[in-house]
Protein backbone atom coordinates (compact mmCIF):
# COMPACT_ATOMS: atom_id res chain seq x y z
CA UNK A 1 0.00 0.00 0.00
CA UNK A 2 2.63 2.52 1.12
CA UNK A 3 4.90 1.45 -1.71
CA UNK A 4 2.17 2.15 -4.18
CA UNK A 5 1.53 5.57 -2.65
CA UNK A 6 5.21 6.47 -2.88
CA UNK A 7 5.20 5.43 -6.51
CA UNK A 8 2.13 7.55 -7.31
CA UNK A 9 3.46 10.58 -5.45
CA UNK A 10 6.68 10.33 -7.47
CA UNK A 11 4.66 10.12 -10.66
CA UNK A 12 2.45 13.07 -9.75
CA UNK A 13 5.44 15.33 -9.02
CA UNK A 14 6.89 14.97 -12.49
CA UNK A 15 3.60 14.86 -14.29
CA UNK A 16 2.64 18.11 -12.59
CA UNK A 17 5.96 19.60 -13.62
CA UNK A 18 5.45 18.72 -17.28
CA UNK A 19 1.91 20.10 -17.18
CA UNK A 20 3.25 23.17 -15.41
CA UNK A 21 5.12 24.16 -18.56
CA UNK A 22 1.80 24.25 -20.38
CA UNK A 23 0.28 26.37 -17.65
CA UNK A 24 3.06 28.93 -17.89
CA UNK A 25 3.45 29.09 -21.69
CA UNK A 26 0.49 31.36 -22.54
CA UNK A 27 1.86 34.14 -20.35
CA UNK A 28 5.56 33.48 -20.16
CA UNK A 29 6.40 31.52 -23.30
CA UNK A 30 8.15 28.22 -23.64
CA UNK A 31 11.69 29.42 -23.23
CA UNK A 32 14.64 28.03 -21.34
CA UNK A 33 13.85 30.54 -18.57
CA UNK A 34 10.45 28.96 -18.09
CA UNK A 35 11.90 25.48 -17.86
CA UNK A 36 14.68 26.68 -15.57
CA UNK A 37 12.12 28.30 -13.26
CA UNK A 38 9.92 25.24 -13.21
CA UNK A 39 12.63 22.72 -12.50
CA UNK A 40 14.34 24.81 -9.85
CA UNK A 41 11.08 25.51 -8.02
CA UNK A 42 10.10 21.84 -8.01
CA UNK A 43 13.53 20.87 -6.69
CA UNK A 44 13.35 23.61 -4.08
CA UNK A 45 9.97 22.28 -2.98
CA UNK A 46 11.20 18.72 -2.85
CA UNK A 47 14.34 19.48 -0.89
CA UNK A 48 12.40 21.59 1.59
CA UNK A 49 9.87 18.77 1.79
CA UNK A 50 12.53 16.15 2.44
CA UNK A 51 13.98 18.22 5.26
CA UNK A 52 10.62 19.04 6.83
CA UNK A 53 9.37 15.51 6.30
CA UNK A 54 12.32 14.13 8.21
CA UNK A 55 11.64 16.44 11.12
CA UNK A 56 7.90 15.76 11.18
CA UNK A 57 8.47 12.02 10.90
CA UNK A 58 10.27 12.04 14.23
CA UNK A 59 7.23 13.39 16.04
CA UNK A 60 4.82 10.51 16.62
CA UNK A 61 4.47 9.39 12.99
CA UNK A 62 1.24 7.76 11.89
CA UNK A 63 -0.37 6.74 8.65
CA UNK A 64 -3.25 9.06 9.49
CA UNK A 65 -0.89 12.02 9.38
CA UNK A 66 0.61 10.71 6.16
CA UNK A 67 -2.90 10.68 4.73
CA UNK A 68 -3.35 14.33 5.63
CA UNK A 69 0.04 15.20 4.13
CA UNK A 70 -1.04 13.67 0.81
CA UNK A 71 -4.54 15.12 0.87
CA UNK A 72 -3.13 18.66 1.16
CA UNK A 73 -1.48 18.71 -2.31
CA UNK A 74 -4.46 16.70 -3.57
CA UNK A 75 -6.77 19.56 -2.69
CA UNK A 76 -4.34 22.10 -4.14
CA UNK A 77 -4.23 20.21 -7.44
CA UNK A 78 -7.97 19.63 -7.52
CA UNK A 79 -8.61 23.35 -7.18
CA UNK A 80 -5.61 24.35 -9.32
CA UNK A 81 -7.58 25.65 -12.35
CA UNK A 82 -9.41 28.07 -10.05
CA UNK A 83 -6.31 30.04 -9.15
CA UNK A 84 -3.67 29.25 -11.80
CA UNK A 85 -5.19 31.57 -14.41
CA UNK A 86 -5.62 34.61 -12.16
CA UNK A 87 -2.16 34.15 -10.65
CA UNK A 88 -0.35 33.97 -14.01
CA UNK A 89 -2.40 36.83 -15.44
CA UNK A 90 -1.58 38.95 -12.43
CA UNK A 91 2.17 38.29 -12.76
CA UNK A 92 1.94 38.90 -16.49
CA UNK A 93 0.43 42.33 -15.80
CA UNK A 94 3.13 43.14 -13.23
CA UNK A 95 5.79 42.24 -15.81
CA UNK A 96 8.81 41.91 -13.56
CA UNK A 97 11.16 40.55 -16.22
CA UNK A 98 11.68 37.58 -18.53
CA UNK A 99 13.38 35.58 -15.81
CA UNK A 100 11.64 36.83 -12.67
CA UNK A 101 8.09 36.52 -13.99
CA UNK A 102 8.10 32.78 -14.68
CA UNK A 103 10.16 32.19 -11.54
CA UNK A 104 7.62 33.99 -9.35
CA UNK A 105 4.70 32.31 -11.08
CA UNK A 106 6.30 28.89 -10.58
CA UNK A 107 6.99 29.66 -6.94
CA UNK A 108 3.40 30.64 -6.23
CA UNK A 109 1.82 27.84 -8.21
CA UNK A 110 4.14 24.89 -7.70
CA UNK A 111 6.21 25.34 -4.56
CA UNK A 112 3.69 24.36 -1.90
CA UNK A 113 2.41 21.18 -3.58
CA UNK A 114 5.96 20.01 -4.22
CA UNK A 115 6.92 20.61 -0.57
CA UNK A 116 4.08 18.33 0.53
CA UNK A 117 4.98 15.69 -2.04
CA UNK A 118 8.58 15.92 -0.86
CA UNK A 119 7.52 15.24 2.74
CA UNK A 120 6.06 11.90 1.67
CA UNK A 121 9.42 10.21 1.05
CA UNK A 122 11.12 10.55 4.46
CA UNK A 123 7.78 10.15 6.21
CA UNK A 124 7.01 6.85 4.57
CA UNK A 125 10.56 5.72 5.25
CA UNK A 126 9.98 6.31 8.92
CA UNK A 127 6.71 4.37 8.82
CA UNK A 128 8.16 1.49 6.87
CA UNK A 129 11.36 0.89 8.73
CA UNK A 130 10.68 -2.13 10.92
CA UNK A 131 14.16 -3.01 11.88
CA UNK A 132 17.44 -1.24 11.77
CA UNK A 133 18.97 -4.33 10.15
CA UNK A 134 16.90 -3.88 7.04
CA UNK A 135 16.46 -0.11 7.08
CA UNK A 136 18.87 0.31 4.17
CA UNK A 137 16.82 -2.01 2.02
CA UNK A 138 13.58 -0.27 2.95
CA UNK A 139 14.90 3.20 2.23
CA UNK A 140 16.53 2.06 -1.00
CA UNK A 141 13.30 0.49 -2.21
CA UNK A 142 11.33 3.63 -1.39
CA UNK A 143 13.81 5.87 -3.22
CA UNK A 144 13.76 3.60 -6.24
CA UNK A 145 9.97 3.44 -6.34
CA UNK A 146 9.59 7.17 -5.97
CA UNK A 147 12.01 7.89 -8.79
CA UNK A 148 10.59 5.11 -10.93
CA UNK A 149 7.19 6.73 -10.41
CA UNK A 150 8.67 10.00 -11.58
CA UNK A 151 9.98 8.37 -14.74
CA UNK A 152 6.59 6.86 -15.49
CA UNK A 153 4.87 10.14 -14.65
CA UNK A 154 7.11 12.07 -17.02
CA UNK A 155 6.76 9.64 -19.90
CA UNK A 156 3.07 8.95 -19.59
CA UNK A 157 2.25 12.64 -19.30
CA UNK A 158 4.44 14.01 -22.07
CA UNK A 159 4.01 11.11 -24.48
CA UNK A 160 0.40 10.28 -23.92
CA UNK A 161 -1.81 12.17 -21.47
CA UNK A 162 -1.11 15.60 -22.92
CA UNK A 163 -2.27 14.37 -26.31
CA UNK A 164 -5.60 13.01 -25.12
CA UNK A 165 -6.84 15.38 -22.42
CA UNK A 166 -6.75 18.99 -21.35
CA UNK A 167 -4.16 20.25 -18.90
CA UNK A 168 -6.70 21.42 -16.29
CA UNK A 169 -8.50 18.12 -16.41
CA UNK A 170 -5.26 16.21 -15.93
CA UNK A 171 -4.15 18.30 -12.97
CA UNK A 172 -7.55 17.96 -11.31
CA UNK A 173 -7.46 14.24 -12.00
CA UNK A 174 -4.15 13.96 -10.20
CA UNK A 175 -5.63 15.87 -7.28
CA UNK A 176 -8.45 13.37 -7.09
CA UNK A 177 -6.01 10.49 -7.40
CA UNK A 178 -3.99 11.75 -4.42
CA UNK A 179 -7.09 12.30 -2.31
CA UNK A 180 -8.59 8.91 -3.09
CA UNK A 181 -5.29 7.22 -2.40
CA UNK A 182 -4.81 8.99 0.90
CA UNK A 183 -8.34 8.38 2.23
CA UNK A 184 -7.77 4.83 3.43
CA UNK A 185 -4.60 5.95 5.22
CA UNK A 186 -6.75 8.03 7.54
CA UNK A 187 -8.33 4.88 8.92
CA UNK A 188 -5.31 2.62 8.99
CA UNK A 189 -2.48 2.02 11.30
CA UNK A 190 0.39 0.99 9.10
CA UNK A 191 3.11 1.90 11.46
CA UNK A 192 5.85 -0.60 12.08
CA UNK A 193 6.85 -0.80 15.67
CA UNK A 194 10.54 -0.86 16.27
CA UNK A 195 9.93 0.74 19.62
CA UNK A 196 13.57 1.49 19.91
CA UNK A 197 14.70 -1.77 21.42
CA UNK A 198 18.31 -0.94 20.69
Amino acid sequence: MIYFIVFICGAVVMSFEILGSRILAPNFGNSVFVWGSLISIFLTGLSAGYYLGGRIADIRPSSRKLGLIIIAPGVLLLTFPLYSGPVSDWIFMKDIGVRSSPLLASAILFLVPSVFLGIVSPYTAKLMICSLHTSGKTIGTLYALSTFGSIIGTLVTSFYLITVAGVSFLIMGQGILLIVLAMPLLFMNLRCNINNTE
Partner: protein, 306 residues
Protein backbone atom coordinates in the same frame (compact mmCIF):
# COMPACT_ATOMS: atom_id res chain seq x y z
CA UNK B 1 35.24 -6.95 -24.24
CA UNK B 2 37.65 -4.13 -23.55
CA UNK B 3 38.98 -4.46 -27.06
CA UNK B 4 35.53 -3.97 -28.47
CA UNK B 5 35.12 -0.79 -26.48
CA UNK B 6 38.45 0.47 -27.75
CA UNK B 7 37.36 -0.37 -31.25
CA UNK B 8 34.17 1.61 -30.85
CA UNK B 9 36.04 4.58 -29.42
CA UNK B 10 38.53 4.31 -32.26
CA UNK B 11 35.70 4.39 -34.79
CA UNK B 12 34.33 7.55 -33.24
CA UNK B 13 37.72 9.17 -33.48
CA UNK B 14 38.01 8.19 -37.12
CA UNK B 15 34.48 9.24 -37.96
CA UNK B 16 33.52 12.13 -35.72
CA UNK B 17 29.84 13.01 -35.59
CA UNK B 18 29.06 14.12 -39.07
CA UNK B 19 27.71 17.61 -38.61
CA UNK B 20 26.26 17.96 -42.04
CA UNK B 21 25.53 15.99 -45.10
CA UNK B 22 26.43 19.06 -47.08
CA UNK B 23 26.54 19.20 -50.82
CA UNK B 24 30.14 19.31 -51.99
CA UNK B 25 29.74 22.95 -53.00
CA UNK B 26 28.12 23.88 -49.68
CA UNK B 27 30.25 25.26 -46.93
CA UNK B 28 29.50 26.06 -43.33
CA UNK B 29 29.84 29.77 -42.53
CA UNK B 30 28.85 29.61 -38.88
CA UNK B 31 27.09 27.46 -36.36
CA UNK B 32 25.96 28.25 -32.87
CA UNK B 33 23.66 27.06 -30.13
CA UNK B 34 21.52 29.95 -29.02
CA UNK B 35 19.25 29.97 -25.99
CA UNK B 36 16.47 28.60 -28.13
CA UNK B 37 17.91 26.57 -30.96
CA UNK B 38 20.76 25.38 -33.06
CA UNK B 39 21.63 27.89 -35.77
CA UNK B 40 23.76 27.23 -38.82
CA UNK B 41 24.48 29.36 -41.85
CA UNK B 42 25.70 27.58 -44.95
CA UNK B 43 26.55 28.76 -48.40
CA UNK B 44 26.31 27.02 -51.72
CA UNK B 45 29.17 28.45 -53.70
CA UNK B 46 27.99 27.15 -57.06
CA UNK B 47 24.37 28.26 -56.73
CA UNK B 48 25.38 31.46 -54.94
CA UNK B 49 22.85 30.88 -52.20
CA UNK B 50 23.02 31.24 -48.46
CA UNK B 51 20.90 29.18 -46.10
CA UNK B 52 19.75 29.36 -42.50
CA UNK B 53 19.21 26.01 -40.83
CA UNK B 54 17.96 24.96 -37.41
CA UNK B 55 18.49 21.35 -37.93
CA UNK B 56 21.48 19.28 -38.81
CA UNK B 57 19.71 17.87 -41.78
CA UNK B 58 16.89 18.74 -44.04
CA UNK B 59 14.66 21.67 -43.43
CA UNK B 60 15.92 25.08 -44.45
CA UNK B 61 14.55 28.03 -42.48
CA UNK B 62 15.55 30.74 -44.89
CA UNK B 63 17.48 31.28 -48.09
CA UNK B 64 18.82 34.22 -50.06
CA UNK B 65 20.51 34.51 -53.37
CA UNK B 66 23.84 36.28 -53.01
CA UNK B 67 23.34 37.83 -56.44
CA UNK B 68 19.95 39.27 -55.48
CA UNK B 69 19.69 39.27 -51.70
CA UNK B 70 16.40 41.19 -51.69
CA UNK B 71 14.50 38.55 -53.63
CA UNK B 72 11.94 36.31 -51.94
CA UNK B 73 12.99 32.78 -52.79
CA UNK B 74 10.62 30.73 -50.69
CA UNK B 75 7.22 30.32 -52.25
CA UNK B 76 5.33 30.95 -49.02
CA UNK B 77 7.14 34.24 -48.48
CA UNK B 78 5.84 35.45 -51.84
CA UNK B 79 2.39 34.03 -51.22
CA UNK B 80 2.16 35.81 -47.87
CA UNK B 81 2.03 39.11 -49.73
CA UNK B 82 -1.40 38.25 -51.11
CA UNK B 83 -2.52 39.77 -47.81
CA UNK B 84 -2.02 43.17 -49.46
CA UNK B 85 -4.90 42.43 -51.81
CA UNK B 86 -7.24 41.95 -48.83
CA UNK B 87 -6.67 45.49 -47.58
CA UNK B 88 -8.63 48.59 -48.56
CA UNK B 89 -5.49 50.73 -48.74
CA UNK B 90 -1.75 50.65 -48.26
CA UNK B 91 -0.73 49.14 -44.93
CA UNK B 92 0.43 51.63 -42.31
CA UNK B 93 1.19 49.27 -39.43
CA UNK B 94 2.56 45.81 -39.97
CA UNK B 95 3.62 43.16 -37.47
CA UNK B 96 5.78 40.10 -38.09
CA UNK B 97 5.90 37.35 -35.45
CA UNK B 98 9.18 35.60 -36.15
CA UNK B 99 12.11 37.20 -37.98
CA UNK B 100 13.95 34.30 -39.55
CA UNK B 101 16.44 35.75 -42.02
CA UNK B 102 14.33 38.90 -42.23
CA UNK B 103 13.40 38.42 -45.88
CA UNK B 104 9.70 39.30 -45.61
CA UNK B 105 10.03 42.30 -43.28
CA UNK B 106 12.88 43.61 -45.45
CA UNK B 107 10.82 43.18 -48.60
CA UNK B 108 7.82 44.90 -47.05
CA UNK B 109 10.02 47.77 -45.97
CA UNK B 110 11.51 48.19 -49.42
CA UNK B 111 8.15 48.33 -51.22
CA UNK B 112 6.28 50.17 -48.47
CA UNK B 113 8.95 52.39 -46.89
CA UNK B 114 6.31 54.56 -45.25
CA UNK B 115 4.71 51.64 -43.37
CA UNK B 116 5.64 51.10 -39.74
CA UNK B 117 6.91 47.58 -39.39
CA UNK B 118 7.41 45.83 -36.07
CA UNK B 119 9.07 42.44 -35.88
CA UNK B 120 9.01 40.35 -32.75
CA UNK B 121 11.70 37.68 -32.48
CA UNK B 122 12.47 35.69 -29.37
CA UNK B 123 16.01 34.70 -30.28
CA UNK B 124 18.52 37.55 -30.21
CA UNK B 125 21.07 35.33 -31.94
CA UNK B 126 18.72 35.04 -34.91
CA UNK B 127 18.51 38.83 -35.07
CA UNK B 128 22.27 39.03 -35.13
CA UNK B 129 22.60 36.30 -37.76
CA UNK B 130 19.98 37.96 -40.00
CA UNK B 131 21.95 41.18 -39.88
CA UNK B 132 25.36 39.64 -40.26
CA UNK B 133 24.68 37.03 -42.94
CA UNK B 134 21.40 37.91 -44.63
CA UNK B 135 21.66 41.65 -45.26
CA UNK B 136 18.85 42.49 -42.85
CA UNK B 137 18.89 46.08 -41.62
CA UNK B 138 16.72 47.92 -39.14
CA UNK B 139 15.63 51.50 -39.70
CA UNK B 140 13.19 53.93 -38.15
CA UNK B 141 10.26 52.21 -39.86
CA UNK B 142 11.50 48.68 -39.41
CA UNK B 143 12.18 47.70 -35.82
CA UNK B 144 12.88 44.32 -34.27
CA UNK B 145 11.68 43.72 -30.72
CA UNK B 146 13.33 40.82 -28.93
CA UNK B 147 10.80 38.75 -27.04
CA UNK B 148 8.04 36.16 -27.09
CA UNK B 149 5.44 36.88 -29.77
CA UNK B 150 2.50 36.09 -27.56
CA UNK B 151 3.65 38.37 -24.78
CA UNK B 152 4.33 41.15 -27.28
CA UNK B 153 0.88 40.79 -28.83
CA UNK B 154 -0.83 40.66 -25.45
CA UNK B 155 0.89 43.83 -24.34
CA UNK B 156 0.61 45.74 -27.61
CA UNK B 157 -1.35 48.98 -27.41
CA UNK B 158 -0.95 49.45 -31.15
CA UNK B 159 -3.23 48.00 -33.82
CA UNK B 160 -2.00 46.53 -37.07
CA UNK B 161 -3.25 46.27 -40.65
CA UNK B 162 -1.33 43.11 -41.39
CA UNK B 163 -0.04 40.56 -38.91
CA UNK B 164 2.27 37.86 -40.26
CA UNK B 165 2.51 34.77 -38.07
CA UNK B 166 5.65 32.88 -38.96
CA UNK B 167 7.17 31.88 -35.63
CA UNK B 168 8.56 28.40 -35.95
CA UNK B 169 10.65 26.29 -33.67
CA UNK B 170 12.49 24.18 -36.19
CA UNK B 171 9.58 22.51 -38.01
CA UNK B 172 6.69 23.22 -35.66
CA UNK B 173 4.87 26.20 -34.22
CA UNK B 174 5.22 26.52 -30.45
CA UNK B 175 1.86 25.42 -29.05
CA UNK B 176 1.09 28.69 -27.33
CA UNK B 177 1.09 30.39 -30.74
CA UNK B 178 -1.56 28.06 -32.18
CA UNK B 179 -4.47 28.29 -29.76
CA UNK B 180 -7.87 29.95 -29.81
CA UNK B 181 -6.81 32.16 -26.91
CA UNK B 182 -3.75 33.32 -28.83
CA UNK B 183 -5.70 34.03 -32.01
CA UNK B 184 -8.19 36.08 -29.99
CA UNK B 185 -5.30 38.13 -28.66
CA UNK B 186 -4.10 38.59 -32.24
CA UNK B 187 -7.58 39.66 -33.30
CA UNK B 188 -7.59 42.23 -30.49
CA UNK B 189 -4.67 44.09 -32.01
CA UNK B 190 -5.94 43.84 -35.58
CA UNK B 191 -7.51 46.86 -37.26
CA UNK B 192 -11.14 46.34 -38.30
CA UNK B 193 -10.10 46.01 -41.94
CA UNK B 194 -6.94 44.18 -41.06
CA UNK B 195 -5.69 40.78 -42.12
CA UNK B 196 -3.70 37.99 -40.48
CA UNK B 197 -1.39 35.83 -42.59
CA UNK B 198 -0.03 32.59 -41.32
CA UNK B 199 2.46 30.13 -42.70
CA UNK B 200 1.26 26.60 -42.05
CA UNK B 201 3.68 23.84 -42.88
CA UNK B 202 1.88 20.55 -43.36
CA UNK B 203 3.59 17.91 -45.43
CA UNK B 204 0.84 15.45 -46.43
CA UNK B 205 -2.24 16.89 -44.93
CA UNK B 206 -1.99 16.11 -41.21
CA UNK B 207 -4.13 16.49 -38.11
CA UNK B 208 -2.35 19.67 -37.16
CA UNK B 209 -3.50 21.22 -40.41
CA UNK B 210 -7.11 20.18 -39.77
CA UNK B 211 -6.98 21.58 -36.26
CA UNK B 212 -5.44 24.84 -37.41
CA UNK B 213 -8.26 25.33 -39.92
CA UNK B 214 -10.94 24.82 -37.30
CA UNK B 215 -9.11 26.94 -34.73
CA UNK B 216 -8.82 29.88 -37.14
CA UNK B 217 -12.45 29.43 -38.13
CA UNK B 218 -13.46 29.55 -34.49
CA UNK B 219 -11.97 33.02 -34.07
CA UNK B 220 -12.28 34.65 -37.50
CA UNK B 221 -15.34 34.77 -39.76
CA UNK B 222 -13.59 33.73 -42.97
CA UNK B 223 -10.46 31.84 -43.79
CA UNK B 224 -8.79 31.81 -47.20
CA UNK B 225 -6.22 29.27 -48.14
CA UNK B 226 -3.39 29.47 -50.63
CA UNK B 227 -1.88 26.12 -51.33
CA UNK B 228 1.74 26.09 -52.36
CA UNK B 229 2.90 24.43 -55.53
CA UNK B 230 5.48 22.61 -53.49
CA UNK B 231 3.84 20.09 -51.24
CA UNK B 232 2.84 20.97 -47.73
CA UNK B 233 3.10 24.75 -47.90
CA UNK B 234 -0.08 26.53 -47.00
CA UNK B 235 -0.67 30.19 -46.41
CA UNK B 236 -3.71 31.03 -44.30
CA UNK B 237 -5.31 34.44 -44.62
CA UNK B 238 -8.04 35.62 -42.26
CA UNK B 239 -9.86 38.90 -42.07
CA UNK B 240 -11.59 40.50 -39.14
CA UNK B 241 -14.42 41.99 -41.20
CA UNK B 242 -17.37 39.79 -41.97
CA UNK B 243 -17.69 40.45 -45.68
CA UNK B 244 -16.74 37.46 -47.75
CA UNK B 245 -14.07 38.11 -50.36
CA UNK B 246 -14.19 36.39 -53.71
CA UNK B 247 -11.39 35.36 -55.96
CA UNK B 248 -12.15 37.83 -58.75
CA UNK B 249 -12.21 40.79 -56.41
CA UNK B 250 -8.91 39.84 -54.84
CA UNK B 251 -7.34 39.19 -58.23
CA UNK B 252 -8.40 42.59 -59.52
CA UNK B 253 -6.85 44.32 -56.53
CA UNK B 254 -3.70 42.18 -56.84
CA UNK B 255 -3.28 43.25 -60.46
CA UNK B 256 -3.65 46.87 -59.47
CA UNK B 257 -1.06 46.55 -56.72
CA UNK B 258 1.30 44.69 -59.05
CA UNK B 259 1.16 47.40 -61.72
CA UNK B 260 1.76 50.03 -59.05
CA UNK B 261 4.48 48.35 -57.05
CA UNK B 262 6.15 46.18 -59.69
CA UNK B 263 7.06 43.33 -57.34
CA UNK B 264 9.78 41.05 -58.70
CA UNK B 265 7.38 38.10 -58.47
CA UNK B 266 3.96 37.61 -59.97
CA UNK B 267 1.49 38.59 -57.25
CA UNK B 268 -1.67 38.01 -59.35
CA UNK B 269 -0.43 34.53 -60.22
CA UNK B 270 -0.04 33.73 -56.51
CA UNK B 271 -3.53 35.04 -55.86
CA UNK B 272 -4.92 32.66 -58.45
CA UNK B 273 -4.44 29.86 -55.92
CA UNK B 274 -7.13 31.46 -53.77
CA UNK B 275 -9.46 28.95 -52.11
CA UNK B 276 -12.18 29.27 -49.51
CA UNK B 277 -11.56 27.16 -46.45
CA UNK B 278 -14.84 25.24 -46.81
CA UNK B 279 -13.23 22.49 -48.85
CA UNK B 280 -10.71 21.89 -46.06
CA UNK B 281 -12.94 22.20 -43.04
CA UNK B 282 -13.51 19.05 -41.10
CA UNK B 283 -15.66 19.39 -38.02
CA UNK B 284 -14.10 16.33 -36.42
CA UNK B 285 -10.82 18.14 -35.90
CA UNK B 286 -9.98 19.36 -32.41
CA UNK B 287 -9.89 23.08 -31.82
CA UNK B 288 -6.59 23.91 -30.19
CA UNK B 289 -6.75 25.70 -26.85
CA UNK B 290 -4.27 26.69 -24.14
CA UNK B 291 -5.65 23.72 -22.26
CA UNK B 292 -5.36 21.20 -25.05
CA UNK B 293 -2.95 21.54 -27.96
CA UNK B 294 -0.97 18.43 -28.85
CA UNK B 295 0.77 20.14 -31.78
CA UNK B 296 3.87 17.96 -31.68
CA UNK B 297 1.85 14.78 -32.01
CA UNK B 298 -0.66 16.06 -34.58
CA UNK B 299 2.15 16.93 -36.94
CA UNK B 300 2.90 13.25 -37.24
CA UNK B 301 -0.64 12.02 -37.56
CA UNK B 302 -2.41 11.90 -40.87
CA UNK B 303 -5.63 13.75 -41.28
CA UNK B 304 -8.73 11.71 -40.55
CA UNK B 305 -10.78 13.88 -42.89
CA UNK B 306 -11.51 12.03 -46.07
Amino acid sequence: MLQKIYLIIFCFILFPFEGFALEPAEKLLMERNSLYQYIAVTEDTSKHKRYLRNNKKGLIQGVISLDAPGKLLFEYTQTSFVSLAFLQMNPTDVLFAGLGIGAMPGYMNRYYPEANIDVVEIDTDIIQVAKEYFYFKENKNLMVHPGDARQFIKRSKKKYDIIFLDAYQSDYIPFHLTTVEFLREVKNILEDNGVVVSNILSPNRNKFFDSMIMTYKKVFPYLYIFKGKTAGNFVFVVTKSSDLKDKDGIETIAKKIQSLKKFDFDLPETVSRFEHSMAYEWSGADILTDDFAPVNLYKYQDSEAK
